[in-house]
């Protein structure tokens, strides 16, 4: 069966510090991968998605970037965090050519 992991689960970082969040998927090949951010009491905002290694599409211009160095690994990064980067970050995967998405447990990021 397929499993998706995210780490860390929680993170408190000062403004201006770098960020690296990691997501890995097990049990499937060539998944589509997604990064979302969820602000408190809000829906999900799609940040990035990827249909293959090295293929990243950015949905919202911002202080973040994403990379996919391996087929089942998706990384969200920032060089300098802003207060507005605080939120709940969710990684998800889907089978190519399918709409159902499967989410990881999320990372709670607080920028202080």
């Amino acid at each position: 069966s397929q499993t998706i992991h995210q780490w860390p689960a929680t993170l408190v970082q000062p403004v201006g510090s770098p960020l690296s969040l990691e997501c890995t998927v097990e049990g499937t090949s060539n998944p589509n991968l997604y990064w979302y951010r969820q602000a408190a009491g809000r829906g999900l905002q799609l940040l990035f998605y990827s249909v293959g290694i090295g293929q990243i599409s950015s949905e919202v211009p911002q202080n973040l970037s994403a990379s996919r160095p391996q087929d089942r690994q998706f990384i969200l990064s920032s060089k300098k965090l802003l207060l507005s980067d605080s939120g709940f970050y969710l990684c998800a995967w889907s089978v190519p050519n399918a709409y159902e998405q499967y989410f990881g447990p999320g990372t709670r990021l607080t920028v202080t």
């Binding site: 829906g43 998800a92 999320g106």
Partner: protein, 112 residues
């Protein structure tokens, strides 16, 4: 921008009662999905209904889709305390783009 809008924003019922949540959207869709999110956790896929379907069932869940009104409803029958969660609708567009657009969600509280 967010495609789906859930209504109501919050719903509180007693165990055993039925819960109905609605979702409206603005543009043509390929499908509509419902997801559940327990507090502080990732989203769980519940059900997908395609644009050429009008009703779909899964256990205690019933989803309807009215493409002429651009709306969907999620009915949870015989609710349980464990159904307490936020429920989101997500729309998938037409074409080869497999991205989803999520609404802000309905917070359902089922009181024992």
């Amino acid at each position: 921008s967010q495609q789906g809008e859930e209504d109501p924003q919050a719903l509180s019922i007693q165990e055993g009662e039925n819960a109905t949540m609605n979702c409206s959207y603005k543009t043509s869709i390929n499908n509509l999905q419902w997801y559940r999110q327990n507090s502080g956790r990732g989203l769980v896929h519940l059900i997908l209904i395609r644009s050429n379907e009008r009703e779909k069932h899964s256990g205690r869940l019933r989803v309807t889709l009215d493409t002429s009104k651009k709306s969907s409803s999620l009915l949870i029958t015989a609710s349980r305390a464990a159904d307490t969660a936020s429920y989101f609708c997500a729309t998938g567009g037409q074409g080869s783009n497999y991205k989803l657009t999520f609404g802000k969600g309905t917070l359902l509280t089922v009181n024992p």
